[in-house]
């Protein structure tokens, strides 16, 4: 008798554990399902993970009563998840920090068009999708930083110039696996064609001070350590370093300066954080409300101040720090192209052995 019970006991326990586990955290979902008065909420898939975002969402809830639920993850994994969930997804919004990935989401038919005068007014044309499937919310520039003592500003001009022999063994940049570098090469494919883009990547690999390693901040530290003279990095990481709680990082940053390349030619490469409503959003109205809120001057100011990103809303000024680096000319590119060229960019980087 005992033996027969084993099967039952084990099965029951396993089931109970699964059910308990399921209930434990899905209470909220269950209650909203059964109540007639549907709880006001909006579900967000985001690859951004800054305290400032959480704070902004909390303010939004306070003002509107709409609860913001989050799934945070890496952008690619979130896209994969949205694809798999299809019609049944609970996600209403997709928020990520790369235009290429936003374009991918659109390409995979995960997003939908949104008509909103507020958004059209707040966000410039080139920073949003032409079918209004996604909208840029913050900007960051991929700049050159250099050692003030070793490099004179006049020696710097363009990204392309960094491939000249003069910079052999002096350029620091992170690995090809990094999305910001992929988007940078994608932008060159758009602007100059595949062959030129490949030539550039080849030249950079030839001039690298060391095998790519670490993040953007590590490139800046590489300069300070004397491994190289110039580095390509994102503006907002440099901002973070200047305001770091670690005095040594501040020292490093103070040793360096920011240079906006290609001012006479194609402009400095920029990327955005942007957001779009998912194709099968169940809370579309709330989703649009949240997007409009995020593009409003008040919130744009918070973004700009807390994260050293550039606001997209023209009414809002960049933070004092960013202003001190001066205005600059941006790449004139429809940012969708970054996504269109991404696979080619990755291949080019592999072909030239960009690690």
């Amino acid at each position: 008798m005992f033996k027969k019970n084993l099967f039952t006991v084990v099965t029951m326990v396993l089931l109970a554990a699964l059910v308990l586990a399921g209930c434990g955290k899905s209470n909220e979902g269950a209650s909203s399902k059964n109540n007639d008065t549907k709880k006001e909420e909006v579900n967000l898939y985001t690859s951004r993970h800054y305290e400032v975002d959480d704070k902004i969402f909390a303010d939004f809830t306070k003002e509107t009563g709409i609860k913001v639920n989050l799934i945070k993850g890496k952008e690619d994994e979130l896209i994969e998840r949205l694809t798999r969930e299809g019609k049944a997804t609970k996600g209403d919004l997709f928020f990520t920090s790369d235009a290429g990935r936003l374009h991918w989401a659109k390409d995979k038919d995960l997003l939908q068009s949104v008509e909103s005068e507020t958004l059209n007014k707040n966000i410039p044309d080139n920073l949003r999708d032409k079918d209004n499937q996604w909208f840029g919310l913050t900007k960051r520039a991929r700049v050159i930083v250099y050692d003030q003592k070793k490099v004179d500003k006049s020696e710097l001009s363009t990204y392309e110039a960094l491939t000249e022999d003069k910079w052999k063994g002096k350029v620091l940049i992170r690995s090809s696996e990094n999305i910001y570098n992929q988007s940078l090469v994608s932008s060159f494919i758009s602007l100059n064609g595949k062959d030129e883009a490949k030539k550039w990547a080849e030249g950079i690999v030839k001039n690298m001070a060391r095998d790519p390693q670490g993040g953007d901040k590590d490139q800046a530290k590489g300069i300070a350590a004397g491994e190289g003279d110039v580095a390509i990095m994102n503006s907002y990481y440099f901002g973070q370093m200047l305001n770091s709680e670690d005095p040594e990082e501040v020292k490093v940053a103070k040793q360096l300066s920011v240079f906006f390349p290609n001012q006479e030619t194609t402009g400095t490469h920029i990327n955005i954080s942007g957001i779009g409503v998912t194709k099968h959003a169940k809370n579309k109205e709330n989703a649009i409300k949240l997007m409009e809120y995020l593009s409003s001057p008040k919130v744009q100011e918070v973004f700009a101040e807390a994260n050293y990103e550039y606001p997209v809303n023209k009414e809002v000024e960049p933070s004092e720090l960013l202003k001190s680096w001066g205005p600059f000319k941006e790449q004139d590119l429809n940012l969708s192209e970054l996504g269109e060229n991404n696979a080619d960019a990755v291949k080019i980087m592999n072909e030239v052995s960009w690690k």
């Binding site: 554990a17 639920n69 049944a88």
Partner: protein, 540 residues
Amino acid sequence: MRSQFNSWALLSVIFSILILLPALLIMVQLFAESNENWEHIKEYMLKNYIVNSVTLVSFTGLFTVLIGVSAAWLVSAYKVPMHRFFKWGLILPLAIPPYIGAYTYHGILNYTGVIQTSLRNQFGIKVDQKFFDIMNIPGAVFIFTMFLYPYVYIITKSFLENQSSSLIENARLLGKGSFMTFIQVVLPVSRAAIVGGVSLVILEVFNDYGVVKYFGIQTFSTAIFQAWFGMGDIYSAIKLAGTLMFIVVLILILEKVIRGRKQYSYSTSKVRPLQPKELKGWKKFAVLSFFLSLFALAFAIPFIQLLHWVYMTYDVILSAAFADLIWNSVFVAAVGSLLIIMVALIIANFSRLSKGWTGKFFSKITVLGYSIPGAVIAIGVLTLFLFLDQKVISLYEWLGLEPTLVLSLSISMLIFAYVVRFLAVGFNSIESGFDKVGTVFTEASRTLGMSVTKTFFKVDIKMIKGAIAGGFILVFVDILKELPLTLILQPFNFYTLATKTFQYASDERIHEASVSSMVIICISALSIFFLHRVLEKEPK
């Protein structure tokens, strides 16, 4: 008697299938026609991936064996000051996930790290960065060795302490010196334990994504992510995962061959534990400094660095939400480990008692989950649950309820994925527990008329209590540290300490990542301390 055995078989089959399903869903796509991307990968990348992965695995394997086995031997055979502490202190590095170890060591060694900063500020010395560069293959081998050697150490140590006393004492009686005893007796007899430990290390290295990504080393796991996400080509990613699985299966077969049919189980209950000898003179000093430096490098130094960063950032990070993080992590880890131990017990018991090939077959299959990268398992599990959900949705619609994703949005999906991924860890522990006690007691009980199931509860389970507790704790710690799978499958508003740590680190905010890192390490360390206590108390 046949029929009751069948319920064990049936359960084993059901669990094996459940666990295999996600992998199968991935595998069917493995045979899809190769496309342009795959050709590109083959032409430019594959060789590099193989060379790097194999280099990392070989050297890490070699060093973990060297360090793990010699530490295990010295701890079990000799007594030095703080002996009792080292016995479990040397397991502690297991509490530090390699990716956190990598963040921390890079933090210590880089230009703004404590070493170079002190040299610059206090002594005015600016050193060549080359000597402090850890973000390369040798650096990764160092990180993996430091934080994974405990796998070899634990298994070898418990084998030596409990199983080898008569052999070693005989060798001593015959006048062999300690070195020769080690080479001629200890190494050969503990071969199975060593191979068991090092195969865990190897699988961990193959699966690692955090360290290699941070250091910019191209391996199979970075390649899988690159193909899947960089090129948007899941098929090539799956082919890469398949290739990796092939290599891993080869290794597992090799392990079986090396282990041979040797099962060092004692058929008498009179196994005496090994009595450690007191060491004197320079030998005592040498062994003590080996233990001290190992403990410092693999635990104390990174721990102190993290403590310093915690001090810098705790006021920003600590909040009510942080308590949720801790609760979430502990909750999923506990439920996951419990399930794994139950499933592992059933399959292991079935596999050891079945004479034919079926039992062995199931036992090998369930271990495969560990060889598949976490991210790939996550996608397999997601596919499975979405499929089930579609079925449930039709049921819901038929009942007139609002369609919703019950399964794939709940935490049960995440826990199921943990079971698939980590069953091997629990299973290995329980299997080796069974190996150790052998089947004589079971057979005796059966001869006396007890059923398989009754014997299982009355005899078997009691004999391997230590292995069960040990398996539970190892799985618990593994889940607590797990990263890629949790990132992909976490439900809305549900984060764990590991995902939070990764988020900070990938945003290059290592200092902020320290608080959650610290909590992971402390909970794991506590668990490991209990593991040690359990193993100590285990009947010898």
